[in-house]
Amino acid sequence: MKKYVKYAFMGLIFAMVFCCIKNFVAYRLPGKSSGMQAAIQEKNIDYLFLGSSLFRQGIDINIALEETKGNCFIISYNGNQPVQMREELAMLLKHQVEIENIYVDLYVYSAALRPAISDKRFIWDMDTRGKINVFSEMVEHSEAGTKEFVDFFISANNEYFLFYPIFQLVGRNEFYKGGNLRETPGRTRNVLDHLETPGDRERIHEAQKQALIDIITMCKEQGIHLTFLEIPKYYTLEQADYYQRLQGELEQIIEGQEYISASQVGFDNRNPENYQDLFHLSARGRREYTKQLLNVELR
């Protein structure tokens, strides 16, 4: 039995060491083309787009760089919530990244949820303080327990850590300054019209509301020009009553701040070729929307 205990202990120690290195060291690994660490490496960002996958699919980085003539960067994580965006902004500021303009995603579906992580890349990219802050929010508002702790600090991103060099070699060409370079095709009207819209969400979550207020305060304190941005969704989704109600609620929270709604840009959200699903733009839609957005913004 002694031998058994020895080998069991070896497995345990090896796992613990692996997880510790991942949590404390991995986010510092070099050579990233997207995410927080890549943004920190930029040092000066003229136009920062901070949001969910809607930003990744909705803002074309090459067009943004060309039109603005400044340094642009997109930070996007799937389902990125205001609670997480606040930590991301705090981490950028902590690392003394100079930001001139920031565009924050006003996305009803992530703001209506309890604090939770949908994209494990967020955990990978955050420093220890940021991880602890977000996990504390989860504990406070979502009753996160042992399972979530294990997911957050032990299980998340292990395979990514293990295959980091290969991923960097193959995957880094997918992004440039956080922008998606893939040519994602659009869908047909038949497909999009038959996609079910997601179910109703009751209201904007208090923790998310507070996070949006904190983001506004942080930007004011740092002298960053803040604009909230609503990426146009496919028209069937935008017309849903609950979507409009929640969007209205969000607009109330950010009242007095600069805000570009989907309708202001004049984007054709009925053209199925512009969409890969109800939320995300296709490559064609991404290019068209970015041009129109920057036309409105830089005018």
């Binding site: 039995m1 080998y7 345990l12 399972k147 292990n158 990514y160 293990l162 295959f163 995957g171 893939r182």
Partner: protein, 488 residues
Amino acid sequence: MTFDTIRFCVFFMMVMGGFYLTPVAKRKYVVLASSVAFYLLLDVKVSLLGFVTVVFTYFGARIMERLRQEKIIYGRCCFWGIITILIGILLGFKYLNFASDVLCQVLQWFHLSTQKKVFELFAMIGLSYYTLKAVMYVAEVYQERRKPEKDFVALASYLLFFPQIIAGPIDPPRSLLSQLKGKLCYREELAKKSLLFLASGYMKKLVIANMIVGYVDCIYDDVTAYGGLTLLYGIFLYSVQIYCDFSGYSEISIGLAGLLGIEVGDNFHCPYLAADIKDFWNRWHISLSGFLKEYIYIPLGGNRKGSVKKVRNILVTFVISGLWHGANYTFLFWGFLHGILNCLCKKTKRQDTNCNTFQDRVKLFGNIALTFVLVTVGWVFFRANSFQQAVTLLYRLVTEFSASVSMDGVREMVMVYTGDMMSLSPFLMSGCLMFLLFVREYRCTYGGLAGQYDKMGNQENMVWFSLCIFFIICFGNFGSQGFIYANF
């Protein structure tokens, strides 16, 4: 509460504590009490039917024995009566919904009814497993291979034995019941072996099976959305998933029983390294294969009454095996397909570990690959939501394969799960783990570990044990998925 949850770990710790604190002679009571508690935590309805089955089997077998002593024909009638009732309950709960669907379809053809369901019954977890155990027990008593059990607690513990209840193995009473009647002592060698099985089983289930389940589900949710290469990879992954899920469960079950001092038979022995279909069935779900052979194939006449009847018997046995898995045309066809493949399979000399020459090895690998491909095609029917979906998948696999062999095809194959290149890491990780498992199993079957894969003292086994613990902690996906075979 399944084996892959923290709740179960706590439950089992308590059982272990209670078991070893109790005097040896009374440990079977702890086994029964924990089985009952496990059942009640699963579902009260399930436990009620389980208790009814135990009481019915216990008294049924005793009455049958008494009647047989009066007159043999009475005993025979009683035996068939008990079997009919036991199988009737099983059929009722498993197949009434299917029968209802078929009936509705027939009625609709004649424009007699448009009602969607005639009957609808809830699923009974574990029903198949304890019913088959009850059938085996009654049959052994009827065949005078054992006396009817006087010890109600031992019989109840055998039928409801909690490590085996969700998905087997279906151990015959001659091994398990006899142990439950005897002294349940701590056996160090068995405990060591059990720890190896537990680690390996949890690794297969929590790490490999749970890592690829999302990918497989994506593919089978919409088979028309993907190219041939992606579909091919998807069906390959399902073969791996079902094996790791089910053999993982079986190994956990064997390990749990072993820690309670009870030795349970193997249920899998590296089935994907089988050199032909017959060999595959000697290695896959060994306890069910044994049951079907002993209680269906041999009573039908086996291979003794000419080749035509032998073919018939094989087909009947496999069709029943298919239907046992579930009431659907897909399972029926899966069973039939395996029956046909078994009939076509020549009686070949069993491959052993003596593959000394290069030619022998090439031949062996060829046979293993061919068997794996055939089994994988069978799994398409087993996994598909409908017969039509399975045919569509295979059709698209053939017609769209060449078009999908390109960089875009490979990219699509990698990115099915998360839709972006982040999928690359789980893709590589699952690939590495599958390769590691293949090497381990190859060594256990044809290599240096043949015959000693469960020997704890072996250095290679110890390293494997250590690796399993590392993988479970770092890559385990706890409590997120049930076991596939719990549905059967």
